[in-house]
């Protein structure tokens, strides 16, 4: 069984409003992830998905992880909020953030070249990765209060992200069937494996694409971490290829 060193590109802080999640206890999540050889995890606040001002969630999370260097902050930025630039600057200057998340489909704006322009102007020269979840959960199981599938269409993502080849993006929670439409046009983009689940996922990635373009995310506490860890640990591709997905590719980027 493989047990590579892992950098987890996406975990969440706090509680999802529709169900209790056991690993929302940060100490418990850290202990569990460390037991699976995760050395570092990029964390974003659940609170900021629905909150009117996501920065309240960002700063609450920053307070909670202050003495936990295991967690690297990936704050959520809402590009419709009046003070996002001011807060982003503060986050960069005070916390040296290496990644941010944007969630356009929950923050009610369209992901376009125009909506990203000012953000990329700030993040690209500073080598800050922009992570974009394609979805938060399986839309079939989402709360009936969310009337529409809260997902980003691949055509929208392809058009907006391809306009910024200088910017590094990570697409979180992408489905296997969506990658083909994005892989070739978005050479500036990595894909996380959290929701990629063909049979023998790493082998499928290797056979169809390149292992250089994929990174590990557990999507904990939404997901039990063993699920994505098993994609690595049960994989029968070369060790060095597994290591690239587990940590090597994201290390290169940050």
């Amino acid at each position: 069984m493989n047990n590579p060193k892992i950098i987890d590109c996406s975990v969440w802080h706090g509680q999802w409003p529709f169900c209790h999640l056991r690993y929302s206890d940060l100490a418990l999540m850290e202990k569990k992830l460390k037991s699976l050889n995760v050395e570092k995890a990029f964390i974003s606040p659940f609170e900021s998905v629905f909150a009117q001002d996501p920065h309240e969630g960002n700063f609450r999370m920053l307070g909670d992880i202050k003495d936990k260097p295991f967690f690297q902050p990936a704050p959520v930025i809402d590009l419709l909020l009046g003070n996002w630039k001011e807060n982003l600057e503060k986050l960069y200057n005070d916390y040296k953030i290496k990644m941010i998340k944007i969630i356009p489909n929950f923050h009610m704006y369209n992901l376009t070249e125009e909506s990203l322009a000012e953000l990329v102007e700030f993040t690209s020269p500073r080598n800050i990765i922009i992570a974009v979840p394609m979805r938060m959960e399986d839309p079939r199981n989402q709360s009936p209060l969310l009337k529409e599938p809260m997902e980003l269409p691949t055509v929208v993502v392809a058009k907006a992200l391809s306009f910024y080849p200088q910017q590094k993006f990570i697409l979180n929670n992408i489905y296997w069937g969506e990658i083909n439409d994005l892989y070739y046009i978005l050479k500036n983009t990595l894909f996380d494996i959290a929701m990629i689940e063909p049979v023998n996922p790493l082998k499928a990635i290797k056979e169809r694409y390149s292992v250089d373009r994929f990174v590990f995310s557990s999507n904990c506490p939404f997901f039990y971490p063993e699920g994505n860890w098993n994609k690595l640990s049960y994989s029968d591709i070369e060790k060095n290829e597994i290591e690239k997905i587990a940590s090597g590719n994201i290390e290169k980027l940050i």
């Binding site: 399986d138 079939r140 199981n141 599938p149 049979v199 023998n200 506490p221 063993e226 098993n230 994609k231």
Partner: protein, 257 residues
Amino acid sequence: MIIDAHFHCPFGKLNTGELKKECEKIISEFGRSGIDKSCVMHSGSYGTFYHDADAQMEIAECLVNIIKMYPDKFYALLTLNGLLPSETLIDSLKRYVVNGPLTGVKLTTQMNARDNRLEGVCRFMEEHDIPVLWHCWYKTTCKYQFESDPQDIAFFAKKYPKIRILMAHLTGCGRRGVQDIKNCSNVSIDTSGSQPFDGYLEYALKELGADRVLYGSDYPCRDIPAQLGRIQSVDLSPEAREKVLCSNALKFYRKGN
């Protein structure tokens, strides 16, 4: 021993050689994942669930071939298209389950579990102790018109109390679905469905007990180790773990053990 209680084989109109190749691929996945045996059923995504009587026969023959080639590796479940006449379905069951090597039945989205058109075939199943794996999901989006949800399965379970039912897709049925079947002692649930969402298995074990939960992956829609992680992720006594991974499936399927 680990038995995967929810498993598809992507076959359609295959000759024995192609079927063998597909099964070898599955058995190689067993080896990679530590699985010893699984049920095996037709997968609609590789053809259609709305097959005619000839195709129904062909599916059954493919399953017979699989069981002949690998008798220790699979429990074969015949996917019935409930839209076909009752007599056709009962003839298939007589030939392939009662008098043949197949173990049970899979029912899916063509017909809701409450539909009276299923009455004839279900009375036959009851009489001949034929278990059924029922596809099931509480869906907010992408729901099929006649797809059953757990309330429908509970209705079916009360109407046919002697049929052993495996309600599929714990993650799709959710906590509400677990409550729907809690008082239906002839219904168990499999752990398959969707991505590795946390919390569902713990809830099902707490509410239903370890005797009514069966590990299932939904291969090839899902990766076996990623789904197996669901069982690894919860604290269970060795006895309870063994029930979920193996002995509950032995009790549910029976024929083919």
